[in-house]
Symmetry: C3
């Protein structure tokens, strides 16, 4: 049953971002959470570069607030298609899993293109009523342009 | 268990279209069904434009029959990769859910390209033996060219 | 529960390839296995062409060993996003299913592109402890360049 709960969690995750419900996306996380975006190349080379790093939920809230202004300058639609979770380990109610993603962006004129592919490495806490995100590391295969305009992946 | 049944239904849906088994695709719907394709832009602006709209199963049957002639002029392979369902609500045996899709087209020469991304908004009826489609709205991020040649998404 | 086990198996399959853990990928197969890559065009025309054909696990092991040398000349990252399995039949503990895939490749410079889309036709054996691959046929919509450099899909 775990995989189903995790797949449901990632479906919520992707759909919240794609529908521009960033505040709902933040609510999937715990207060003591960690969210970061890195590139696979940096991970392979042991480099510490991160594009986004929020190490608690208030930082995520701040980030989302700033997106609300920034998005005025970079309007587009996101679309995540996320693969099934691969469960890596489980301990003390926390499941670690990987899931591949493809992320497409569409201009307001309706032109779509591949924006990023990569993998989520997630720690999720299985609660009685809901499953929450403890940690999400986005490991992007695609190179990323460090930018204040960057939206979550 | 619902998500699994819904994921299975959408796997049937995509594979029937991709294998050009359009008649099997129609059989996933109820008689009193609704199938339409709209763009996200139109939904956002409250515009009533639809690319395809069939409001019962006989209209779907007619549509498929016309594709069988039309496809002579637009031969290609479709490939749907559909994400996990996000369950929105459930009431009286009908589940409403969203699922992201990516749709690729390949020419007979073997060249593939991204054709459309977007979201399905589905009402499905959970029966004892099988789950059926009551309503499918394709909300395409990608702009669509209104065309008699249009195949279902 | 079968679909969940199969989805988990394909998540392992894709992630092993994407993380360049080719030896782990081989271990998903039985000793008396069959792995081949064909194009949809060839299947439609009844042509016998195959890009890769390994009809037992030792051939897969040999193939992976040769990749280890070949990859020096074709470095890239793979990323599979695989759809939910569509179960075709089940008999004697062996499940036959289809799953759509999209495969993206990224250069070491971080540029991603669509590489191949298509379908897996899989026979999997449901064991008590684990599910194993008896046969995988990759039916690629996208045309393939026959090449010693070809990596598994």
């Amino acid at each position: 049953m775990n995989r189903d709960a995790l797949a449901g969690l990632m479906a919520e995750y992707g759909m919240a971002l794609d529908e521009d419900r960033l505040e709902d996306w933040v609510e999937l996380f715990e207060e003591a959470c960690d969210y970061r975006i890195v590139t696979r190349e940096n991970v392979a080379q042991g480099l510490p570069n991160v594009l986004i790093w929020c190490d608690n939920k208030n930082m995520l809230r701040d980030r989302v607030e700033s997106y609300r202004n920034v998005n005025l300058y970079n309007p587009h639609y996101d679309r995540h298609v996320i693969g099934m979770p691969r469960i890596v380990s489980e301990s003390g109610g926390v499941v670690t899993f990987d899931a591949s993603y493809s992320l497409f962006q569409t201009t307001l004129e309706g032109e779509s293109r591949l924006f990023s592919v990569g993998r989520y490495r997630v720690d999720a806490r299985l609660g009685k009523d809901r499953t929450t995100l403890k940690s999400v590391m986005v490991i992007a295969d695609t190179g990323l342009i460090p930018s204040l305009l960057a939206t979550p992946i």
